[in-house]
């Protein structure tokens, strides 16, 4: 298995970059602790050895800010992906496998979520709830994202449950638990894993977007909050532009890495290619 992963260039590169982000998140703050107090003498310093990304309008180190904020960014992404995948796949499997009334009800609810545009609702939720923890933001940004996954998984389950190997399980009187967890799940697991990474990607974009509008910036070091604050200072000033570009670049790098992982996993796990 490990050999198959390493032979897939996309997956290896993607995983390595993602691992680096995780490393920075956990180890970074210990090596480069962040001091939020303003240093009047060091406002808008350019890049240097002491301040690799320079300093901001209050003389604080941007590099250390970002390292401090990474935890909050990835916690949101992780929680949101967990919630999205749990809710989406549970409801999707339930809807597809149970069929009948349950299916109709779940699909009607899913349709609402798919029709109403997500981002404005995120903003409403963010403004009427007090969001002060990564988990709360994660709940908000996964409030809508499960619906698409739910529908996609339902379609897969619908086609799987008519397949011969599920039918024969019924003839052999295997329990519903066995059919769902041992027969169905392994077949959609790769799809769920891939969607976990995709959910992380969109959670980061959504959370940064919410902060960019000026909501829910409970943690000033969160990358979204840095971007929002820099933008608030005015983009006419190139110094603010510079500050804003660091977190955004980091986000893009993470997005690319996650996409590589998605493509790589797709290649690795997709049965269509495996049969060939």
């Amino acid at each position: 298995m490990i050999k198959r992963i390493t032979s897939n260039v996309q997956l290896t590169v993607g995983l390595m970059i993602m691992a680096m982000f995780v490393l920075v998140t956990f180890v970074g703050p210990i090596i480069f602790p962040y001091d939020p107090n303003p240093v009047v003498t060091e406002i808008y310093l350019p890049n240097s050895l002491a301040h690799p990304f320079g300093t901001d309008w209050m003389g604080r180190d941007v590099f250390r800010q970002m390292i401090g904020g990474a935890g909050s960014v990835f916690q949101i992404a992780f929680y949101a992906a967990v919630i999205t995948v749990l809710v989406g796949s549970t409801l999707g499997i339930l809807s597809g496998y149970a069929g009948g009334k349950i299916d109709k009800i779940i699909m009607a609810v899913t349709n609402i979520f798919l029709s109403v545009p997500a981002f404005p609702v995120y903003l409403v939720l963010a403004s009427i709830m007090t969001l002060e923890s990564p988990l709360a933001i994660a709940v908000v940004v996964s409030a809508w994202s499960w619906a698409g996954l739910c529908r996609a998984i339902r379609v897969q389950v619908l086609s799987l449950k008519e397949r011969d190997f599920i039918q024969i399980c019924k003839v052999m009187r295997m329990g519903t638990g066995h059919i769902i967890f041992k027969e169905l799940m392994p077949n959609i697991l790769s799809y769920i894993i891939i969607n976990f990474v995709i959910a992380m990607r969109s959670a980061i974009l959504a959370s940064v977007g919410i902060m960019l509008v000026g909501l829910a910036s409970y943690d000033p070091t969160n990358w979204g909050a840095i971007v929002s604050a820099a933008r608030g200072r005015g983009l006419i000033n190139p110094m603010n532009v510079r500050i804003l570009l660091y977190p955004l670049t980091a986000i893009v790098i993470f997005q690319v890495a996650a996409l590589l992982v998605v493509n790589g996993l797709d290649e690795l796990l997709n049965p269509r290619l495996k049969v060939m």
Binding site: I112, P117, V124, R201, V213, L235
Partner: protein, 356 residues
């Protein structure tokens, strides 16, 4: 239904029933789609209503205080006026409140502003939606047409350099969030090189709105950057969809059969590959178009472009929820409506789903 036989065939009622039944049988496909859409709309109404109820505090109270100070009347009277103006009474029985909200929506009244008098969701849609639609539909159609052209080309030349370049572009554009693209363009093209204006829909000082050339030119000029940003981000997605769809179609037997029939590669490309590959993309295009009515919140706020999206985010920040509700419902409604239209047109495009 079995008991239709129990009716005497000659009675007018039975005749009417048969006509109605025949009508339902004939238009089964469309009717069931319409029924589904209506159900979804109703459920959407209910959900948005309850979202409104989640708002902490009493918005009427603050509004009433404003009116009290403005008109110098007692608080009770002001409160009544406020309730009337907002179409919202927090002390009202929830069922009645829902009925009132519901009848308002049925009559096309999407809700009134709590903060400004004479501003309603309807008036905002009238003034803001055209700008949003101008930007996003231009961008959507540019990216769609570029996407299907490039996607169709690279699907046929999978081993070429173009395909590799397309893959890189797809990966990058899929990873750069639209607001970052917007920021980059503003920073570079507007602030650094001053090629395009950075904000607003037109320059209110130099042109007068109306059907005149300078105005139209100025609007297009201001639209350049947002449209560019939006297209750059979305083209990748369309390339990817079209390429995937084309590759699927190219593996079909009828492509090989067409080749065996000695048809020219141009015919095969246009009438066999593209025609079939575009079918699933029509649905995507419809969904994307329906999504435009909500406005691109972040994009418009970065360009300070007075579309619906900017309005929504502004109203959310100023806690003008009544209007926000209306606008969100409107965009949901449009998504459902456009999807319904696509589904009704679809049998006409794809003969396989056509019903007699």
């Amino acid at each position: 239904m079995g008991n239709s036989e129990t009716f005497e065939e000659k009675t007018p009622f039975a005749k009417l029933l048969r006509v109605v039944q025949a009508f339902f049988v004939k238009h089964h496909y469309i009717l069931s789609k319409i029924a589904m859409s209506i159900v979804t709309m109703l459920l959407t109404m209910v959900m948005i209503f309850f979202l409104l109820r989640m708002i902490p505090g009493d918005p009427v109270y603050q509004y009433a205080i404003g009116i009290q100070q403005q008109r110098r009347i007692t608080f009770e009277e002001a409160y009544k006026v406020a309730v009337q103006m907002l179409h919202y009474d927090p002390n009202e029985n929830i069922l009645r409140a829902f009925l009132r909200y519901f009848s308002g929506l049925i009559q096309g009244d999407l809700g009134h502003s709590i903060i400004e008098t004479n501003v309603s969701a309807n008036s905002l849609i009238r003034t803001r939606l055209p700008w949003t639609l101008f930007l996003s539909s231009c961008a959507l159609f540019i990216s769609f047409f570029v996407g299907i052209t490039v996607g169709g080309y690279v699907a046929q030349h999978r081993k070429g350099l173009a395909n590799k370049a397309a893959s890189v572009y797809i990966a990058l554009s899929g990873s750069i969030p639209d607001y970052l693209m917007a920021l980059l363009l503003v920073i570079n093209l507007a602030y650094k090189y001053k090629l395009f204006p950075a904000q607003y829909n037109y320059d209110a000082f130099s042109v007068t709105p109306g059907f005149n050339l300078p105005f139209i030119r100025d609007v297009l000029w201001h639209g350049c950057l947002p449209i560019l940003a939006y297209s750059l981000v979305n083209t990748g997605n369309w390339i990817m969809q079209m390429r995937g769809s084309c590759i699927g179609v190219l593996g079909e037997d009828y492509i090989l059969a067409a080749k065996a029939r000695g048809l020219s590669s141009r015919t095969i490309r246009s009438r066999y590959m593209k025609k079939n590959a575009l079918l699933p993309l029509v649905t995507s295009l419809g969904m994307a178009f329906g999504g435009l009515f909500g406005g691109a919140v972040l994009m418009e706020s970065i360009f300070n472009y007075p579309g619906l999206g900017l309005e929504i985010s502004g109203r959310i920040l100023s806690k003008d929820y009544m209007v926000v509700q209306g606008l969100i419902f409107f965009s949901g409604f449009m998504v459902i409506l456009v999807n319904l239209l696509v589904e009704m047109i679809y049998p006409w495009i794809d003969p396989r789903v056509r019903r007699e």
